[in-house]
Amino acid sequence: MKCTRSNASVMFGRMVLLAVTGLGLSGCIIIPTPSHGGVGVITAETIESFEPGKTTRADILLRLGEPAERLEEDRFFVYQWKRIHGYFVAGGGSTGVMATLLATHSLGIEFTPDHQLKRVKVIHPWLPLTDKRSNLEEWMAEERELPHP
């Protein structure tokens, strides 16, 4: 079983290497980077300043503005922003094209019926052009079965 898994990972690694080499030889390359830059970023300091049971929906709206999504009669807010996770470069020499590869970061916020913050969830994708929407939905579903306090 262990051997099978290791063979599969070697095969996957080879495929990735082949894809990268192929792209490189064809004149284009993808350069993955740690997440950086971006527009409309909600910082970790801002998120850490929110206190469950103290911070209200009004506080969050005053601080972050309109959410990207309002779910279940404002029980959940979702904020989103994009950051650069890599670059796509094609061509070379004196002409070419470069594109930034973005990934969507999400902040999920749950409120209590008396408009106070209950919990938050931050989702940072590590691959460009990915959207980890399912992770956020799983987080929202965690306590959905329970009656709303």
Binding site: G37, V39, G40, L62, L64, E66, K82, G93, S94, M98
Partner: protein, 187 residues
């Protein structure tokens, strides 16, 4: 290396072990050494790599610029009061806000919180002090109708009302929405 054209090279008189500066005196536009007036290997190599240098410089500058992130942050209260002088906490009523600004973009908590989505008018604000096409006309009066907004330059006015329907708290949040994919060309 470009040898100096003159017989009296400074290095000729230099003692062993003495520090010797090396200066290349530059390349002319045709790839010739400014020192020699002839083709120079060092200069030729430089010219051949100009394209790569362009790309390298572009990549480095793009990476440096990309390192700058714009963060969601409320506007300085001083600037908010300059921009919306009619909004005074504890004094301005919801009715007045609605009559001046028109229908809000969103309502929360049974209309206790109203939000307006606005866009930055860079032609008037000069890029420093934002003004809002959604909000004010030339005389600074409220402009209830919607104006064409650049999607990437959106701001929110958030108004929280107290039980007496007077503005209790308010803020303007600067939100620059990112483009889905930015593609840049270099030449």
């Amino acid at each position: 290396m470009c040898p100096l054209p003159f017989a009296e090279d400074a290095s000729d008189h230099q003692r062993i072990g003495e520090w010797q500066p090396f200066w290349h005196r530059g390349c002319d536009p045709f790839g010739h050494s400014a020192d020699l007036g002839n083709s120079d290997l060092m200069c030729e190599r430089k010219l051949m790599r100009t394209g790569d240098l362009n790309f390298g410089l572009y990549l480095v500058s793009a990476l440096l610029l990309a390192g700058c992130a714009t963060v969601v942050v409320p506007l300085d209260p001083q600037l908010v009061s300059e921009r919306f002088p009619f909004i005074r906490e504890g004094k301005t009523s919801k009715q007045e806000v609605l009559s001046r600004l028109g229908e809000p973009y969103s309502r929360y908590e049974g209309e206790q919180i109203l939000t307006y989505v606005m866009c930055e008018d860079i032609s008037r604000g000069g890029g420093r002090l934002p003004s809002y096409t959604r909000i004010t006309d030339k005389e600074g009066e409220a402009f209830p109708g919607k104006a064409g907004c650049s999607y990437e330059r959106t701001n929110n006015l958030i108004l929280v009302f107290g039980p007496d329907d007077l503005v209790a708290r308010h803020s303007v949040v600067l939100i620059n929405l990112v483009k889905r994919l930015s593609v840049e060309l270099w030449r």
